[in-house]
C-alpha cells in the first residue's frame, strides 16, 4: 500500500532511516507491524493520553509506549523528581539511596516476593530468571507457551535460526492446555528448570486469552512435583490488573516475578523479584550493567508507585477500559459487526468475528489513525490513568464512523 500523503514526514524520515538503519525501524516498532503507509512511524511529543506525530497530527493513544505510560505521557508527578535528580547527576558510579527504597517498596507491595534486582530491559529480567532457575535447580529445560512474548533475547524471541542454540533447551506448549503441559513434564522429567508464563496469554496477532480455571494451580503442582521454578512474566500486565502483582488476580503462586514497562511510567527499568529461597542463588550470580544503577529511573519508579497507590488507578483504568470495550461492541453492532473484546479491561484487544488474519483490524486501525486515534492493529492496547471519559467518548464517536467505513471497504 503506497504511502498516505497524511504521513509524508513519517515516510520521509523512514526513507532516510533505511539508508543508515537496517530495516529503517526494527522490531515491534517496524512499519510492517502496523498498517504500512497508513500509520504514523515517528512521534515527536506526548501529553497525558495524547500523542503528536512527525506530521503534526494529534492522537488519542491506546498503546501507552507499549504499556509503559501508565500515568500518561509527560506526567509531572514522575518527571519533577526525575528532572531534579537528573540535573544533579544520574549515573554516579554507585547507586543512590533510591535503589534501596525501591527494593523495600516493591518487597512490601508485591505479594509473596522477598527481594528485587533491577536492570534496564524487561528482557534482562526474564533472561536472568531463566538463568537463575537453571543454576538453582541444576536443570536445563525451560517451558513456555506457544506465541508468548518474554522479550527479545534469542531464547524466547522469534529469532529461530538453527545456528543459534539458545532455544535448544526451551520447549513450548499450548497456553492453558494442562494435559499438554503435564505430558511435557512427563517427557522431560528430571530436566525441567522452570516454567515461564504471563499472568494471562497476550500473544500478538489475535485475541487475548485469560487463564482457564485451575491453570495456575496445575502449573504450581507440576513445578513442585518436578522441583522446577515458576516464573511469572508480569512485564506487560503489571499494575493494570493489581498493584500487588497480577498473579494475585489470577491465583498464581510464582517463585519469580519479572517486571518492567509501567513500573516507572516509561523510564527505563526492569526488575526481577523472587522468593527468599532463591536469594542466595541470585546473590552468587554476576548481575550488572553500566546504566543499571542510574538513579533517575529509581526515583521515577518510586514516584510512579506513589501516584498509583494514591489514586486507585487500577479501578479507573479498568472502568475506562470497560467503557471503551462496551462502546466498541455497540458501535460495531450498529455497523453489523460482531466484535470481541478480550483481556483485562485495562489491557484490551478488539477482534472482529471471522477475521483470523486481522484484515478488518488493519482497516479499522488505519481509519482510526486518520481520525486521530492510535489503536494498534496487531498488539493489545492499554489504558492509562490519563484516559478520562471524554477521551473514551471521543474515541467511540470516531469508532462509529470507522466501523461504517470498514464496512464500505469490505462490502459486507
Amino acid at each position: 500500500m503506497s504511502a498516505d500523503k497524511r504521513y509524508e514526514s513519517s515516510q520521509a524520515l523512514f526513507d532516510r532511516a533505511t539508508e543508515v538503519i537496517p530495516g529503517g525501524i526494527y522490531g515491534s516498532k517496524s512499519p510492517g507491524f502496523t498498517v504500512p503507509g497508513r500509520f504514523p512511524y515517528y512521534f515527536t511529543e506526548g501529553a497525558g493520553c495524547r500523542l503528536k506525530d512527525a506530521d503534526g497530527h494529534q492522537y488519542i493513544d491506546y498503546l501507552c509506549g507499549f504499556g509503559s505510560m501508565i500515568l500518561g505521557f509527560g506526567n509531572p508527578a514522575v518527571d519533577d523528581p526525575a528532572v531534579a535528580q537528573l540535573r544533579k547527576g544520574d549515573l554516579l558510579n554507585q547507586p543512590g539511596p533510591a535503589m534501596v527504597e525501591l527494593a523495600e517498596k516493591l518487597v512490601d507491595l508485591i505479594d509473596g516476593m522477598d527481594w528485587a534486582v533491577f536492570s534496564k530491559n524487561g528482557t534482562d529480567a526474564t533472561t536472568l530468571a531463566v538463568s537463575l532457575a537453571r543454576v538453582h535447580t541444576g536443570k536445563s529445560h525451560i517451558l513456555m507457551a506457544d506465541g508468548a512474548y518474554h522479550g527479545s533475547a534469542n531464547w524466547c524471541s522469534s529469532n529461530s535460526h538453527p545456528i543459534l542454540r539458545d532455544k535448544d533447551e526451551v520447549r513450548t506448549f499450548a497456553y492453558g492446555d494442562a494435559s499438554e503441559l503435564e505430558a511435557l513434564f512427563d517427557e522431560l522429567e528430571g530436566r525441567i528448570a522452570g516454567v515461564i508464563l504471563t499472568p494471562y496469554h497476550h500473544a500478538t496477532w489475535g485475541a487475548q486469552i485469560m487463564p482457564p480455571e485451575g491453570w495456575h494451580q496445575e502449573v504450581r503442582r507440576l513445578c513442585d512435583k518436578e522441583g522446577a521454578l515458576f516464573v511469572m512474566d508480569d512485564i506487560r500486565a503489571n499494575f493494570r490488573m493489581s498493584l500487588y502483582g497480577s498473579h494475585t488476580i489470577v491465583d498464581a503462586r510464582p517463585d519469580f516475578i519479572a517486571m518492567g514497562k509501567s513500573l516507572a511510567n516509561g523510564y527505563p527499568i526492569g526488575a526481577l523479584m523472587g522468593t527468599e529461597e532463591l536469594k542466595k542463588t541470585a546473590a552468587a550470580f554476576f548481575i550488572t550493567g553500566t546504566f543499571w544503577t542510574s538513579t533517575v529511573p529509581y526515583l521515577a519508579a518510586l514516584a510512579c508507585l506513589g501516584e498509583m497507590e494514591r489514586m486507585d488507578i487500577v479501578s479507573h483504568m479498568n472502568a475506562m477500559g470497560r467503557r471503551l470495550g462496551e462502546g466498541l461492541i455497540a458501535a460495531g453492532a450498529d455497523a453489523g459487526y460482531r466484535i470481541s473484546m478480550t483481556g483485562p479491561p485495562a489491557i484490551p484487544f478488539m477482534t472482529f468475528a471471522d477475521d483470523p488474519d486481522l484484515w478488518h483490524n488493519q482497516e479499522f486501525s488505519a481509519r482510526m489513525a486518520a481520525k486521530g486515534v492510535y489503536m494498534h492493529p496487531h498488539h493489545n492496547w492499554f489504558l492509562s490513568y490519563a484516559h478520562k471519559e471524554p477521551d473514551v467518548d471521543e474515541t467511540l464517536e470516531k469508532a462509529a464512523e470507522a466501523f461504517m467505513e470498514v464496512k464500505t471497504v469490505f462490502g459486507e
Copy 2:
C-alpha cells in the same frame, strides 16, 4: 575490614539493602569490587568531575560512571535538550526523528561503518553482534580474549555454571598472542563465526595492555581466511581514543563496532554498527526493546557528539591523563615506589611494581577516597572533559600524601 565511621550512611544503606536485594549491591558496583568498609557505596549527586556520597563527602572522580560521563556529571549542553524533550514525552510508541539523525551522524563519523541499531545496554550490542555473526556466517564459534569484558550476558560474563550452555561455543585465547589465535583458527577451521576484541585489553584486576604491533592485521587476516567476522567492542574506550572510533588508532578494520557508555554522556543507549555487507542480515533479525526507541537518549547522544566535536575533547582528556600519570609516577617515586601507568592516557590504570594482587592499589585507593579522590582499585580509570589542570593538581597533592601513608602501612 570493619566499616569506617566516615562511610556510616553508606554502610547503613547497604545493611538495609541486603534485606531486600541479593548481595545488597550486585555486579561491578558491589562493595567487594572496591575496598569494603573504606569506600563509599552510595552517591547522591555529581557535577563536572566531582561527586558527593551518601555521607556528604566530596570526591574528584576518576571512574566517570564507568566511563560514561565523558563531558562530566550534570552537563547542561546534554541535559538541556534532554530535559526539554522529557517534559514533552520520552517513550512515544514509535521513535522520534532523533533516532534517524543519530544513525546518520554515527555513520558519517565512525570510520568504515555503514549502519547503526540502538539498544539500552552495551551488552545488548555485543550480544547482537555475536548473534548476527553466527547467522551471517552460518557458523557457531566465537573467539574472545581471556579476561576480556564484553558485558554481563552469560556467553561472555563470569557466570560459568555448567548448566548454562551459553559458553559452549565460545573459546578464549591470550590477548595479543597471534600464534595461539592462529592455532585456534586451525583447530576450529570452518566453524568460526567471529572474533570479538576490545581496541586494547582492559581486563580488570591488573595492568592494561595495548595491542602488539601487527595484532589487528593478523586478526583481520585470520578472519578473512576463515570467512569469520571481526567484532570491535569499543564500549569502554569509545570517544576517549578518537572521535572516529578507537579502531582508527589501533589500525583495526572490524566488521561490527559495539558502542555505549560515553555515547550519550550517561543516558542509557547502546549501539551496534556494521558494514554494508551485514545490513541485510541485521534487517532480517528481530531486534527490539520497549525502551529502545525512547527519544531522550538519542537527543542526549546528538548533543554529546556535538560537544565532543566542538571542543577537541580527545586531546584535552589525554593531556589531563598524561599530566595525571606523570604526576603519579613522580609522586610514587618520591615515596620509593615504581609506578606503572598503562592504557591510553585518557583511560589510565595505575599499578605498583611487584603487587600482583593489588594490595597496594587497595590501600592507595582507600587512602585517596578518605582524602576525597575516587580512584578505583581494580578497574581502569577515566578522564572526562570536566577534568581540568587544578583538579589533576589537587589529585596529585593528595596522591603524594597517600603514597607516603601506603608506605607506612606496608613498612617498605
